[in-house]
Symmetry: C2
């Protein structure tokens, strides 16, 4: 298992490569609340981006919003400038089904029409359900459907892998 | 250069693999008008899918819709059943920036919340602007920004690569 520091360095290097390949001009960095913002804060500093970091809360854009209802702790999104024609670096902690990123893209496009959006995530795990893929990752991990991975933070940043209880027939889950 | 028949066979095989890996159950196939529908018709037949093919027209969902206005020849979308909880195979002819697929995903999610969406395209060219990626491709091609690739059809299906005029300074483009 790599350390958090090693994952951040991997992501940093991958981002520098993509910024060059895709010729990003004065990119705006946006983190997805909550864990994505912690990673974005690290990348924002490492890449010495001057413009303030953008923050996205996708609670209202989730495709299961009607099932979940309004979460009492939703914080507002904060985008530090116009999106139209901009190159965006979108950052999240864990990429899993792709649904969070789809929601985040919709929120970004509600602000304006970006030139490009590059997606960088600290951890990509298997379980994709939507044809969305990160452009940069810190690490790819194979986990079973019964394992959940979570980033705790912000100081220190810790990756927690949790085994979820199995709901097998006739067995009580405590 | 591969023939259309070879590209279709590649896509067919890639789709069979993904259907098994991702354990798609009774998938609904949807083609994006116009070229994607031609490819979808071929795959629908090859994979012996019984449910009718779905058709998607994304004209109203394009992110440059306000610039383009209403196209006089927009045909309606036709989805043959409920989307909620379904496994979807979405098909297009050429994958380029990712904007068309983003629009198509939004239209699909307006119908309901699918379980999974798998994206299959005949040709993936470089030029991605959105973090969307096909799960299955017939072929990947490197083209310059001045080249446009287009599928003509439906009978016969022909791939046309066009060199676009260069808008250099002081030169009149005819």
């Amino acid at each position: 298992m790599l350390t958090i520091e090693e994952l951040l360095t991997n992501l940093d290097l991958a981002l520098r490569q993509v910024i060059e390949q895709r010729q990003l001009v004065n990119p705006m960095m946006i983190g997805i609340r909550t864990g994505g913002v912690w990673i974005a804060e690290q990348m924002h500093q490492r890449l010495a981006i001057e413009e303030p970091l953008g923050l996205l809360d996708i609670s209202f854009y989730r495709d299961d919003f009607s099932q979940l209802g309004v979460h009492p702790h939703v914080k507002p999104s904060a985008i530090p400038g116009h999106i139209d024609g901009r190159d965006i670096i979108l950052i999240d902690d864990v990429f899993y089904t792709g649904r969070t990123v789809r929601a985040a893209l919709n929120e970004i496009f509600d602000y304006g029409r970006p030139n490009q959006v590059v997606l960088a995530v600290l951890i990509e795990r298997d379980g994709k359900q939507i044809p969305i893929s990160p452009d940069c990752v810190g690490v790819r991990m194979a986990l079973s459907a019964y394992q959940r991975i979570k980033l705790l933070g912000p100081d220190p940043l810790v990756i927690e892998v949790e085994n979820m209880p199995l709901h097998s027939e006739g067995e009580t889950v405590r």
